[in-house]
């Protein structure tokens, strides 16, 4: 079977440019199934004539099949990773066909989250392309009776220049397949100067389908004989059905039956929430039938959860000593010396993902196997949970990944897919579960509500002599272990333990908080609230010290150096510190550059206008952002301009990267303007876009200018890192324009008029 090797701890290839992330279990080479064999999850790529890698196959007609093993939710990873293969292969992009992978561990990690698709798979993609290219060259050399070293490739052909011969990839595929797959150490990768696509980029492979309505999302999956389901979930997390009456529901035209779904056991993880499903002939009938259900609930212990009281609890916890996660010097001793001491509390509420496509999945359970079509960021997690729920093996769970109508982390958690699988087994037909927007808002895995307490003593030049920060938030591991209350290293690392300031006394703490709703990953995750507190407090101190915020920020970042995390649990987003050191010089550089690009200090700002700045490293990328705002006398906030500079190492697809940072500014706008989920007696108060508004065209930055730093450092994340500095810079700009500090998000509560 396919050899799987752990590539996580290697730095390899390409003269030290590249390092793989710790999450990757990559399968490099894969022997083709013998004729007639049919793997449960196989692809056209697997059956191609030349097939030296799970990710790549070439047919005699010259078609190059490339597997997209990561999910496409708008970040263009489905295009950009295959582009790396095509580049290294010297393939003609027009002759490339992309196949979406099914969930299958032979592709390595498929959870498309954490902004690591490029970073973790860049090498694997290059190797796949280089392997095939090497075999094609050998086949041509043998055919022509010349040394392989004299042959090279041009676009989709092997050439021997001195004899002016060339042969297409298609005509060489059969002969090339007879050669052994070259060893990794024998692979010759293209020099940067010969790159065709990497660094230049490409629009989405699906662009035409996206603008013609032909693109197939989870919402669009159809099977003959399928029925539709809508599920009434327990309104409080952990609640159960006491009793229910479906008589009226069954009278609704098109409703076929109702099916109770068991509540989750122990911690929610990715299990279905439970409740009553209404099965109908079309979506609308299922929705209507559901409204007629009469259910008595046992709400369980989370019935006591109220957001207002919970906020006070978090704040109170943060005002007392908590668990120290990093310490330099002795902050308390410095505070005791007196001088000017400043304190501040910052607060960010629960946030919902609100991807435009609500949760949806189509499942067909037949002959002991479950086949699913789902907009999922994590098809292997689908295999896991469906196999557990149905008591079948993982191999008997076949998960097709459709396009995703947004994901933002929500669709890494396949509870909704498990629902469809459970229902299909019960109903004996293909079942498509469709969540309403209300279901999506009320039953999310929310970004954690967080309270941050900040304290600093300022010295003679206004620079802090001591700095203390405490964050308190219900942690994501609580979805797997209800007793988990402290932030785990992988979320504390997100802008908290790695505060980059060069200060003599620095203490970083984290306090406990019990979760009462499901907490999950949302674009940028803990970086949102951590960067908000750190970067806004920095701006506040600059003001107190009477210094320019840019100058002050650079002073705190200090001289270029590599942060030493000795004795600190700092996972570095799963990457090695050797390949991805924390370099303050790069943060300085993007900060200085964004100041220059935005004309910091050079442009005049009239009454009600102002600019704010923030800098932050997340997902291994360094980003600095300047936001300009105008606030009217009525308190209406406009954002005429945003400038953002990123250093994400090697950027494979600059066009897609710019789009991600434009989008991040919009996502951040929603966080600042209106993002807030609250609960009363354990029930989420919001339900749809009228009470959980997300930013519209009239509210977003009019112009976002994105500048990419040219870099040969290994590739880092681009999907998420734009959000955190935008949020803080926006809030700092509001202060500059109005003199009002934003400490509690969203600003809809602030009253700016």
């Amino acid at each position: 079977m396919s050899p799987i090797e752990n590539v996580s701890r290697r730095r390899f290839l390409t003269g030290g440019i590249i390092a793989a992330g710790a999450l990757v279990l990559g399968v490099r080479y894969y022997s083709r199934p013998s004729s007639g064999d049919k793997l449960p999850h196989d692809t056209n790529t697997d059956h191609a004539t030349l097939h030296p890698s799970v990710y790549l196959g070439i047919n005699p007609d010259g078609t190059v099949w490339i597997v997209a093993s990561r999910s496409e939710m708008g970040t263009t990873s489905r295009t950009t990773l295959p582009l790396v293969v095509a580049d290294e292969l010297d393939a003609d992009w027009k002759r490339v066909k992309i196949e979406q992978a099914l969930g299958d561990s032979r592709y390595g990690d498929q959870n498309t989250d954490g902004s690591h698709s490029i970073r973790s798979f860049y090498d694997a993609m290059r190797e796949a392309g280089a392997t095939a290219r090497s075999m094609l060259i050998q086949a041509a050399a043998k055919e022509w009776g010349v040394p392989a070293t004299e042959c090279e490739t041009d676009l989709h052909v092997v050439v021997h220049r001195s004899t002016n011969r060339s042969a297409g990839y298609g005509e060489l595929a059969r002969a090339a397949a007879k050669f052994p797959v070259p060893k990794r150490e024998d692979l010759k990768l293209k020099p940067k100067s010969a790159w065709r696509y990497v660094g230049k980029g490409q629009v989405s492979y699906d662009l035409e389908a996206l603008v013609t309505g032909k693109a197939i999302y989870g919402m669009d999956a159809r099977l003959d004989g399928m029925v539709y389901a809508s599920v009434e979930h327990p309104p409080v997390l952990g609640g159960k059905v006491k009793s229910y009456d479906d008589k009226e529901a069954l009278k609704v035209a098109g409703v076929r039956q109702t099916v109770p779904i068991d509540p989750f056991q122990q911690a929610p993880a990715f299990q279905p929430l439970g409740g009553i499903a209404v099965i109908a002939d079309n979506t609308w009938a299922a929705f209507q039938g559901r409204k007629k259900l009469n259910i008595a609930w046992d709400n369980g212990p989370n019935e006591t959860y109220n957001s207002e009281a919970y906020k006070n609890e978090l704040r109170a916890t943060s005002h007392n000593p908590c668990k120290v996660v990093r310490n330099i010097g002795d902050a308390d001793a410095a505070f005791a010396k007196g001088g000017k001491v400043y304190e501040a509390d910052y607060y960010v509420p629960l946030l919902a993902h609100a991807s435009m496509e609500p949760m949806v999945a189509l499942a067909q359970f037949q002959d002991g196997k479950a086949t699913l079509w789902a907009p999922t960021q994590n098809p292997q997690a689908v295999q896991d949970i469906v196999s557990k729920e149905l008591g079948i093996s993982k191999e008997d769970v076949i998960c097709h990944v459709t396009l995703l109508g947004g994901g933002f982390g929500r669709k890494s958690k396949p509870d909704y897919v498990a629902e469809a699988a459970v229902l299909s087994k019960r109903v004996g037909r293909p079942v498509k579960v469709v969540w309403t927007r209300e279901d999506d808002i009320k039953f999310d895995y929310y970004n954690a509500v967080a309270s941050m307490y900040m304290k600093a003593a300022l010295g003679a030049n206004g620079k802090p002599t001591a700095w203390l920060q405490r964050s308190v938030f219900p942690p994501i591991p609580s979805i797997f272990d209800v007793n988990a209350v402290y932030g785990d290293p992988s979320h504390l690392q997100q802008g908290w333990t790695d505060v980059p300031y060069d200060l003599p006394n620095l203490r970083i703490e984290n306090g406990p908080a019990k979760a009462h709703v499901r907490i999950g990953w949302l674009r940028s995750v803990a970086n949102i609230y951590h960067a908000f507190a750190v970067q806004c407090f920095t701006d506040e101190l600059a003001h107190e010290a009477g210094r320019d915020p840019l100058d002050y920020l650079l002073d705190l970042i200090g001289k270029p150096r590599t942060i030493d995390f000795k004795g600190v649990e700092y996972p570095n987003y799963g990457a090695s510190m050797d390949a991805y050191p924390w370099e303050t010089g790069r943060l300085r550089h993007v900060t200085e550059l964004v100041a220059e690009k935005s004309g910091w200090g050079k442009r005049k700002h009239g009454k009600g206008t102002g600019v704010g700045i923030a800098a932050h490293r997340s997902f291994l990328s360094y980003v600095a952002t300047v936001v300009e705002v105008e606030v009217s006398d009525q308190g209406e906030v406009r954002i005429p301009r945003v400038d953002t500079v990123l250093d994400a190492g090697l950027v494979v697809n600059p066009e897609a990267t710019r789009a991600q940072f434009e989008g991040a500014a919009v996502f951040g706008t929603s966080v600042v303007r209106s993002g807030e989920i609250t609960a009363t007696k354990g029930v989420i108060d919001q339900s749809n876009f009228q009470d959980y508004p997300v930013a519209r065209i009239t509210e977003v930055p009019y112009q976002t200018n994105v500048y990419i730093v040219e870099s040969d450092a290994p590739p880092a994340g681009v999907g998420e890192p734009g959000v955190p500095p935008f949020v803080a810079a926006f809030c700092n700009a509001i202060f500059a324009a109005t003199g009002k500090r934003v400490k509690d998000l969203p600003i809809s509560k602030l009253g700016l008029s």
């Binding site: 496409e72 708008g74 970040t75 263009t76 629009v203 989405s204 662009l207 035409e208 996206l210 603008v211 013609t212 309505g213 032909k214 693109a215 197939i216 999302y217 919402m219 669009d220 159809r222 539709y228 098109g254 079309n282 979506t283 609308w284 009938a285 929705f287 609100a354 991807s355 435009m356 496509e357 609500p358 396009l403 995703l404 109508g405 947004g406 933002f408 469709v434 309403t436 927007r437 066009e655 789009a659 991600q660 434009e662 989008g663 991040a664 500014a665 919009v666 996502f667 706008t669 749809n688 876009f689 009228q690 997300v694 930013a695 519209r696 065209i697 009239t698 977003v700 112009q703 976002t704």
Partner: protein, 151 residues
């Protein structure tokens, strides 16, 4: 029995008259280009043309659609090359793309009534269409590009 035209084809519907047009298009006709986003007319993902007007199909009942001409993305241009679609590709607007069909239908209706919309007119016309990926800046640019071609 309700009679209507969808993309120029005569259709009749004998089901629930309260069913929103969106679900008729998607579940009954299998025209899945129009998307479900909120179900209450707040996000615009379901936008189609009814007698040429941009309309939220998730809150338009079949009774309301009776006798009308409904246009969906599938019928906007037979080659998928309506000026708005071309501009959307030229400016590389979509990210996830889910809302873009609704955005395109809204923009096409706007350009039918205003050949050269101003920024303010674009914002007003497009403010009912949410894009969670945040492609608004490109949407505005693409509408202007399409306006250049439409004239």
């Amino acid at each position: 029995m309700i009679q209507l035209k969808v993309n120029g084809i005569e259709r009749s519907f004998g089901g629930e008259t309260e069913m929103p047009l969106l679900w008729y298009l998607r579940d009954v006709l299998g025209l899945t280009g129009s998307k479900f986003g909120c179900g209450i007319g707040l996000c615009g993902a379901c936008t189609v043309h009814v007698n040429g007007q941009a309309t939220r199909s998730c809150v338009t009942t079949m009774r309301d659609a009776a006798g009308k001409e409904v246009g969906t993305i599938e019928g906007l241009d037979k080659d998928g090359l309506h000026p708005v679609q071309k501009a959307w590709m030229q400016i590389n607007v979509p990210q996830c793309g889910y809302c873009q069909v609704g955005q395109i239908m809204q923009a096409a209706a706007l350009l039918n009534s205003k050949k050269k919309p101003t920024d303010q007119e674009i914002d007003e016309a497009m403010s009912g269409n949410i894009c969670r990926c945040g492609t608004y800046q490109r949407i505005r640019a693409a509408i202007k590009a399409a306006a250049g071609e439409v004239t």
